[in-house]
C-alpha cells in the first residue's frame, strides 16, 4: 500500500528502475494505442512481469496519474509567473492555451487526468488543487479588470478545453482545436449578448 497511497517512490533501487521503465513504456504506447493501451504490453515492453506493473500501479488511473501529474506543477508555475502580466486577459488566454497544449499530451490523457476525480489528499489531487487555485487567480484578475465575464468559473472553462481535445482526438483534422479554442475565448469575453 505504501507506494500507491503515499505516492512516494519505491525504496529499493531496482523497484525505482522498474517503475521508470513502466512509465516510459506506457508513455510510448499511449501515443499509439490511446487510452485503451494494453497493460500487458506495457509490462512486456518494460521487460517486467505483469504482476510488477500491478505492484506499482494498482489501477489504470494510478498509472495515468503518475504519467501526467507533473504537468499540473508546471502549469501552476506558469500561472504564478503570469500573475504580474500587465494585461490580465492576455495572460489568462495564454495560460489557457498552455492548458490546451499540455492537455493534448498522450492523446488527451493529460487533460483527462486533470479532470478526473482524485483521491482526497493524494499527490495528484494536491498538485491539481494548487494549479487550479493559481489559475483561478489569473481568471479573477481578468474578471476584476472587466475583460472576462464574471459569471464563469475556471472549472467550467477547463472542462470546455477538455471537450475540445476529446472531440478532436479522432477527428479528420486534429488541428481544428485552435479555432474551437477561439470560440471558447470569445464566449467568456465581456461585451457579448445574453
Amino acid at each position: 500500500m505504501s507506494e500507491a497511497l503515499t505516492g512516494g517512490l519505491p525504496r529499493r533501487a531496482d523497484a525505482r528502475r522498474n517503475r521508470q521503465k513502466l512509465l516510459s513504456a506506457a508513455r510510448a504506447l499511449i501515443d499509439v494505442q490511446g487510452r485503451d493501451l494494453a497493460l500487458e504490453e506495457v509490462a512486456r515492453r518494460a521487460g517486467v512481469a505483469i504482476g510488477t506493473l500491478y505492484n506499482h500501479f494498482p489501477t489504470r488511473q494510478a498509472l495515468f496519474q503518475a504519467l501526467f501529474a507533473d504537468d499540473a506543477e508546471v502549469l501552476r508555475q506558469r500561472a504564478e509567473e503570469w500573475r504580474s502580466d500587465p494585461d490580465p486577459a492576455e495572460a489568462l488566454i495564454r495560460w489557457l492555451r498552455l492548458q490546451l497544449e499540455y492537455g493534448a499530451r498522450g492523446r488527451s490523457m493529460g487533460a483527462t487526468v486533470m479532470n478526473m476525480r482524485h483521491e482526497e489528499g493524494s499527490p495528484v489531487q494536491q498538485k491539481h488543487t494548487a494549479m487550479h487555485e493559481a489559475g483561478a487567480a489569473l481568471l479573477q484578475r481578468a474578471q476584476a479588470n472587466g475583460q472576462v465575464r464574471a459569471d464563469v468559473g475556471l472549472a467550467r472553462i477547463l472542462r470546455l478545453i477538455l471537450g475540445i481535445l476529446l472531440a478532436n482526438e479522432d477527428a479528420p483534422d486534429p488541428d481544428g482545436t485552435l479555432p474551437m479554442f477561439g470560440i471558447l475565448i470569445d464566449g467568456i469575453r465581456t461585451g457579448s449578448a445574453s
Copy 2:
C-alpha cells in the same frame, strides 16, 4: 455483404427480428456500460449466437450507426421546420440545443456517431449530409441577419457540442452541459471581441 453495404433490412423475417433484438439489447447495454459495451453480452441478451451479431453488424461502428442514424433524420426535419422562424438566431440556438439533447443519447454515442467518418454513399452518410445541409441553412440565415459571426462553420459548432458532451460524460456533475453550451453560444454571437 448485402446488408452491411446497402444498409437495407434483411430479407427474411426471422433475420429482421434478430436484428431488432440486437439493437434493443445494445441500446439497453450502452446506457450502462457506455461505449465499451461487450458485444458478446449484446448477443447473449438478444438471445442469439455471437456469429449472428457479426452477420448483422460486421463492426462496432456498424452497430452504433444503426442505433443512432435515425436521429439525424429527425434533426434534419426540425431544421427544415425552423427555417421559417421569425428569429433566425433563436431558431439556430434551439436547433443546436436539440443537437445537445440528441447527442447525449446512449452516453454521447449519438453525437459520436454524428461526428464519425462514414463510408461514402452509406445511408448514415447520406442522412448525416442531409442534416448538415439543413442545419447549415439555419446557421447562414442567422449569419445573414447579423446575429451570428460569419467566420464560423456548422461543423466546428457541432464538434464543439460533441466536446461538451464527451467532457461531461464521466463528470461529477453531468448537467454542467448547459452552462458550457451557453459559453459556446456567446462565442459565436456577433458583438464580441477578436
